[in-house]
């Protein structure tokens, strides 16, 4: 089914480290922006500017002064090789430029040439290079083969995070007019219309009406999906995929059922109908802030007391780690609750307080494993203790079903593997690297499938869900294995018994 090689799964839960194949993924690149508006909407030049070399170097200088991470990370690498076998894209493609350090070096060679004494005096000695069209092509190709999952940063003795490097590289490319179509077009819609799909308010209302009917047909209970309700307690901000995509939509139904049974008044916002924030993928502080600002406006406008974020990995990173700084302070919200709060924090708290009636046996046809989404696992937290982002979703799963097993310890928690589609790579023009990048996760999944009969892969990220739906069949898994944590809750919850 593929016009490229798909890795073959073995018996061991961990993939072996491949011998390097230089150039294996050379030339694979996503579509660039061809409609200038997709760049200019974000404040970038519409097309590649004439003096792009100078502009790029100047932008790099600007970013070095703005981000300590970039400056320290570009200086500190000792080429120890610790990260070289940690990236799912390297494991899946064997292309040495997908080793985190080699990916960083694409930017570092330019940093050294233009910003360090050694690189100016003796470029050949320290691997410094002039910025040429060839280098720019490499940037565009390999900085779009990084999902910014931060797995390499876990193992680096200096904590060098390739995500920071690839964000800087993408910001530099955007600043010279070389934007990636998928991310930029979507981000533009989010900033202008309020969601990644460009859904206008009536379309959202229409979808929610349909969901209300579906749930009532299935359960006999009138569960509401409120939109733009002023004075609601909770504003739910969730990835717009939850409104229409499978299996995401079952997660949204799950959130609604939880709110319904717990008697929490909640609402979605048509003005801020997107949890995702692709501004992060570009490393663009301004655009990230613009997208997030809609949410602050909506929360104030609706007069809510809490903001809750649905199942979405990078959305939760932005919400947890960046919102307070970008669009805070949230002094207009109820201080009794963390701002923002993850839907899993809300649900587990309700379960512990006995506010939800869950029948685990309703999920007895499922043997569940949990995929820690990279941005949740390595870039955020849930709850009040470090590692709550691992225990809270699992506790919800255990409260919702009888059969749960974890995958190999080397592939979960902070060592989790990215699904292969994060960081702006969830586009069909990058299918080869998406499929190959999923290899380590698929390998760990195969083991629990064989040993425990796992038939449900739970995730709390819209990108993970879309990505797995697409790549599971390449590895001879059933595509319907993928689902949300709140889909399990939705199945288990006994409506009409508690409210």
């Amino acid at each position: 089914m593929a016009d490229f090689d798909v890795p073959v799964l073995g018996d061991h839960p961990l993939c072996s480290v491949p011998a390097i194949k230089p150039g294996a993924m050379h030339g694979l690149k996503p579509f660039a922006v061809n409609n200038p508006m997709h760049n200019t909407d974000l404040g970038f030049p519409g097309a590649l500017v004439e003096n792009w070399e100078a502009v790029a170097v100047a932008k790099m200088g600007e970013l070095l002064g703005k981000y300590r991470s970039l400056q320290v990370f570009l200086d500190s690498c000792v080429k120890c090789g610790s990260c070289t076998d940690k990236c799912h894209y390297f494991i899946g493609t064997a292309d040495p430029r997908n080793m985190p350090v080699a990916r960083q070096d694409l930017l570092r060679q330019i940093y050294r040439r233009y910003f360090t004494l050694a690189g100016k005096v003796a470029p050949g000695l320290v691997g410094a290079k002039d910025l040429t069209k060839e280098v720019l092509d490499d940037w565009y190709s390999y900085f779009h083969q990084c999902s910014q999952c931060r797995r390499c940063s876990v193992y680096c003795p200096y904590g060098i995070d390739t995500a920071e490097i690839s964000m800087a590289a993408r910001e530099i490319m955007d600043s010279i007019g070389l934007g990636q179509k998928y991310t930029n077009e979507i981000l533009g819609k989010n900033i202008k219309i309020g969601n990644n799909l460009g859904l206008p308010p009536p379309a959202i209302r229409n979808t929610l009406d349909g969901l209300e009917e579906d749930v009532e047909d299935a359960t006999g209970i009138a569960v509401r999906f409120p939109l733009d309700v002023k004075g609601a307690d909770v504003l739910l901000v969730t990835p717009s995929a939850d409104f229409f995509a499978e299996p995401h939509i079952d997660g949204l139904i799950g959130y609604a059922k939880v709110f319904h049974q717990a008697g929490i008044s909640w609402t979605l916002s048509s003005y801020a109908s997107e949890g995702a924030n692709f501004g992060m993928f570009l490393g663009s502080y301004d655009n990230m802030k613009k997208a997030a600002t809609r949410i602050r406006h909506a929360a104030r406008e609706l007069g809510v007391k809490r903001i809750v974020v649905g199942e979405c990995g990078h959305a939760w990173r932005v919400a947890y780690s960046f919102w307070n700084t970008l669009i805070g302070p949230f002094d207009f919200l109820d201080p009794k609750y963390p701002a923002p709060q993850h839907i899993c924090e809300v649900t587990l708290d309700l379960i512990r307080r006995g506010a939800l009636n869950l029948d685990k046996s309703a999920n007895d046809h499922r043997v569940v494993t949990f995929h820690d989404s990279c941005n949740v696992a390595r870039a955020s937290r849930m709850g009040t203790t470090p590692g709550g982002q691992y225990s809270i979703p699992r506790d919800i799963i255990r409260a919702s079903c009888n059969h749960f097993v974890d995958m190999d310890p080397g592939t979960i928690h902070d060592q989790t593997f990215c699904c292969g589609g994060g960081g702006g790579l969830l586009t069909d023009d990058l299918m080869p690297v998406r499929v190959k990048g999923a290899y380590p996760r698929m390998q760990a999944l195969r083991q629990v499938q064989q040993e425990h009969g796992v038939n449900y892969l739970a995730a709390i990220c819209a990108i993970c869900k879309s990505q797995f739906l697409k790549v599971l069949p390449y590895y001879q898994f059933d595509r319907d294995m993928i689902g949300g944590v709140h889909q399990l809750v939705s199945t288990a919850i006994q409506l009409g018994t508690k409210e």
């Binding site: 480290v17 390097i20 070095l64 002064g65 703005k66 981000y67 300590r68 991470s69 400056q71 320290v72 990370f73 200086d75 500190s76 690498c77 000792v78 080429k79 120890c80 090789g81 610790s82 990260c83 940690k86 040495p96 080793m99 350090v101 080699a102 070096d105 004494l117 050694a118 050949g124 000695l125 320290v126 940063s153 876990v154 193992y155 680096c156 003795p157 200096y158 904590g159 060098i160 995070d161 502080y285 301004d286 802030k289 613009k290 947890y320 780690s321 960046f322 307070n324 700084t325 805070g328 302070p329 963390p338 701002a339 390595r378 955020s380 937290r381 203790t385 470090p386 982002q389 902070d414």
Partner: protein, 241 residues
């Protein structure tokens, strides 16, 4: 006063100045660069004290490297710990009277030279033998290891094979520190050792040796997990739209 003494005196003043100014300048650059967003690699400590513990584990025990690859960790620890002992032992050449603990370290520091050599040799072998590490290595990566190997080897030679007049060497360095120059013995091995050390000092601020100060400024390691509780708006970010 011989020409050699004058040459080496000037060399060490220069090297020390470059090292000091270069590293301080870098540290100022790191410290001044803002960290506009919380990017700690999670799970991260919730308190400042927790961060100190995390940094201690990272700096003294190479925690992240340990989780990553046991071989590199072993060679890395062997080299760094041995070098630390060797450096501590060398303090005796810069002080009179010699501190109590420096005297205690002396015998360990002597034999640590072999640990340094073994660790460096293993790290160098990795660069040739592991295809991934070979791919990412620049000439400077090999040269740096060779430089350190040559320093360790020439030093060990003087300790164990061809002794130099160490009392005179100490007098030379104390003289440098007190700006009352004393003659330096013109042993070839000693001169080689000192020239290599001066070279190392001078390349330090423009090379990957910056990982030493850099690790303390690494935002993924030194940040407290407090983003929901505290705002961290960088000065430049106040104007962001």
């Amino acid at each position: 006063m011989t020409v050699v003494t004058e040459l080496y005196a000037l060399l060490f003043y220069t090297a020390a100045a470059i090292l000091l100014i270069g590293v301080v300048r870098r540290i100022v650059i790191y410290a001044r660069a803002p960290a506009p967003l919380r990017i700690a690699t999670m799970p991260a400590p919730l308190t400042r004290f927790g961060v100190v513990l995390r940094m201690v584990r990272e700096v003294f025990f190479f925690e992240s490297l340990f989780r990553s690859t046991k071989w590199t960790w072993m060679f890395g620890v062997l080299f760094h710990a041995s070098m630390a002992l060797v450096l501590m032992r060398h303090l005796r050449y810069f002080q009179e009277p010699v501190w109590f603990w420096v005297a205690i370290v002396q015998p360990f520091g002597k034999y640590a030279a072999f640990g340094m050599l073994a660790g460096l040799a293993a790290l160098l072998a990795r660069r040739f033998l592991v295809d991934r590490v070979r791919y990412i290595s620049s000439p400077s990566d090999y040269l740096m290891l060779c430089l350190l190997l040559a320093i360790a080897a020439s030093g060990a030679m003087m300790t164990f094979v061809m002794h130099t007049d160490i009392v005179d060497v100490k007098a030379f360095f104390l003289g440098l520190m007190r700006f009352k120059w004393q003659p330096l013995p013109a042993d070839p091995l000693l001169l080689l050792h000192l020239a290599l050390v001066a070279t190392l000092m001078m390349v330090f601020p423009i090379s990957k040796l910056l990982h030493a100060p850099g690790v303390f400024f690494s935002p993924t390691r030194n940040q407290v997990d407090d983003a929901r509780e505290k705002q961290h708006v960088a000065p430049w970010a106040r104007d962001a739209v």
